[in-house]
């Protein structure tokens, strides 16, 4: 187990180094930041001064080391577009908003997926099972950004029940949360369904039935509790899906999170913010996957000796 954790940790660090090199290089070939920083009528002398001020005159490897050193202290330099603010400050303001949206979406997703999955498993092969599958599959096939627009059209424009966009009270998060959450319903639902099918077949469920426990109690209490473990592994995959959805939905709903920040900073070539965002999100993914892998190895010893999950 220890050996497995050390190997996985080492791999995670390698991946993070790879990410930092890719980001560093990519951002530097998108064009000189000097063009954005200096006014159009700047002289050679001005350019050189600006370069020296921002450290662009040093050799690349030196810039990289400086970059990594600062990144480790969560310092990605000042923002280029929003003068006077640090990149990390902007990112730090945006991250909680995005997490809030993603968290609510995850909640909506589980809230929809678990009942559907349980009922599908109990009523396997019936029309109810089929309807459940269709709801889940539909979610997987609807482009989240489009679903967001349609929800605005129905609930904000026509019915006037919910606000169109922006961040405010609880009512503001409902539409983007549903649009984002529905997408991962299918994955959660499928897993719940198959886990439930396994559990419903087990001895202790049979025993609970023989004992005369009410059927609803057998299903929703005894069986569901034990079927709740496998979905854990899905967390890493869902996190990846969520980021793509978050970026598009934040532009639809004018939600002040990392997606909006990313879009404005890419367009403004605000590369300190872009760098910071990509690295922080990657670090988050890597950590989530690391934790999931270790937990998985803890639960299922076969993983430790097989050298990972493929």
């Amino acid at each position: 187990m220890q050996r497995y954790i050390i190997i996985r940790l080492f791999q995670a660090v390698l991946a993070l180094i790879g990410v930092s090199i890719i980001v560093f290089t990519l951002v530097r070939i998108t064009g000189s930041p000097l063009d954005v920083l200096a006014p159009a009528d700047a002289t050679e002398e001005d350019l050189r001064r600006v370069a020296a001020l921002w450290g662009f005159d040093k050799p690349l490897w030196e810039q990289y080391i400086l970059f990594v050193g600062n990144a480790l202290q969560l310092d990605f330099g000042p923002s280029i577009k929003f003068q006077g603010q640090s990149a990390m400050g902007l990112i730090g303001d945006a991250i909680p908003n995005s997490l809030q949206l993603a968290g609510f979406a995850m909640f909506v997703s589980v809230l929809m997926a678990v009942p559907i999955g349980v009922v599908s498993a109990v009523k396997k092969g019936t029309p109810i099972d089929m309807i459940g599958k269709i709801i889940a599959l539909l979610g997987q096939s609807l482009p989240p950004f489009w679903l967001g627009i349609v929800l605005i059209w129905i609930f904000s424009v026509n019915l006037g029940w919910l606000p169109v966009s922006g961040k405010g009270g609880f009512t503001h998060i409902i539409l983007p949360g549903v649009a984002l959450g529905w997408f991962s319903v299918a994955a959660f639902m499928r897993l719940t369904r198959s886990a439930m099918l396994n559990v419903l077949d087990s001895e202790y469920v049979k025993f609970a039935r023989i004992k005369g426990t009410a059927e609803w109690k057998v299903i929703w209490k005894h069986a569901l509790k034990n079927a709740a473990i496998p979905p854990l592994t899905l967390f890493g995959i869902i996190a990846g899906i969520m980021v793509t959805g978050v970026v598009t939905l934040e532009t639809v709903f004018a939600w002040p999170g990392i997606g909006q920040l990313a879009l404005t900073s890419v367009n403004a070539r605000d590369y300190s913010v872009v760098q910071g965002l990509v690295i922080l999100i990657s670090a988050m993914f890597i950590t989530i996957n690391l934790i999931v892998d270790i937990l998985y190895a803890y639960i299922d010893p076969r993983v430790r000796y097989g050298g990972g999950r493929g």
Binding site: Q11, A15, G18, S141, L142, F145, T244, R269
Partner: protein
């Protein structure tokens, strides 16, 4: 099944047999998804020039923002309405189908081939090939690729080729992982050892003996991904990081209609329906193909 002819079956009228037979076909084969795909994606993509009533890019400014024909004020020469530049929505959607088909096929081909080759190499040669390729897969899976795509589009000129490259970059690692895992078991099998004894070179063993055995997996993975790829292309185009306007692409159309959702709902809603039906049918078809070719692949 000796007692298959139950009394109920005997008593059935001939019409019910036809219905029963049709129901069996519908349940056993993905007839509806294939039909939807043909209508929404394949036929429009292949015959776009022949079936479009109007030009997809040049609009008629006198026919601006016409609603769909079946609603008040609609005009049957613009069956699904027109946008604010007087372009026919139907014609743009037909050419949009071509864009979607082209981008997803090309991206799957590029990503699938690169990923599969890397997976074969990593699995077959092992040692440091395996380490390097698998770490690349790790990096690829941990990058927020949608953000990277935004950066890449600033770097390169937006267009079909860039979109294909970005999407392929997002896809290859799945193939590499899956193919490698299968090669690891395949290469220990007797037929590989025998081929080696018979004097086959590494290249010959890989392409002649191992590749045919992982081919089903690659095909199933590709079919299961088409839907996602179309969604991805639409998302990128929607964000302005995919197919650039005025080119007809479904994602672009949804984005262009977004600001008109209050007054002209059809601009966004109708192209989104095309995406939805295509992706839904593609997912159903992929599920069916996976079960048909190899039920073992359930976890894909």
């Amino acid at each position: 099944m000796a007692v298959a002819t139950s009394p109920a079956a005997v008593a059935r009228v001939p019409g019910a047999r036809v219905v029963g037979w049709a129901w069996t076909i519908l349940r056993r084969y993905p007839v509806i998804p294939v039909a939807v795909l043909l209508i929404v994606l394949v036929i429009p993509a292949l015959f776009a020039e022949l079936i479009t009533p109007h030009d997809p890019i040049d609009g008629n400014l006198r026919a601006r923002l016409l609603p769909p024909a079946w609603t008040d004020g609609g005009d049957w020469s613009y069956p699904l309405g027109s946008d604010r530049q007087g372009r026919d929505i139907l014609s743009r959607m037909i050419f949009g189908a071509r864009t979607a088909a082209l981008v997803s096929l090309a991206a799957l081909a590029v990503g699938g081939i690169i990923g599969s080759v890397l997976g074969l190499v990593a699995g077959y040669f092992g040692s440091w090939w395996d380490h390097v390729i698998m770490r690349l897969v790790d990096i690829n899976l941990s990058l927020p690729l949608i953000l990277l795509a935004l950066v890449l589009v600033v770097l390169f000129e937006p267009g079909t080729a860039t979109t294909v490259a970005v999407v392929a970059l997002l896809l290859w690692s799945r193939y590499a992982r899956q193919v490698r895992a299968e090669v690891l078991t395949l290469k220990e099998m007797d037929f590989v050892a025998r081929a080696r004894v018979a004097g086959a070179s590494n290249l010959r063993i890989i392409f002649r003996h191992i590749l045919p055995n992982v081919f089903n997996t690659i095909i199933v993975l590709a079919t299961l991904q088409v839907g996602n790829v179309i969604l991805l292309e639409a998302s990128l185009s929607f964000l302005g990081a995919g197919i650039p306007p005025p080119n007809p692409a479904w994602g672009v159309m949804v984005a262009e209609g977004r600001d008109f959702i209050v007054t002209s709902w059809w601009l966004s809603v109708i192209p989104g329906l095309a995406i939805m039906f295509t992706v839904l049918s593609m997912n159903l078809l992929g599920d069916w193909l996976r079960d048909y070719l190899d039920p073992k692949l359930r976890q894909l």
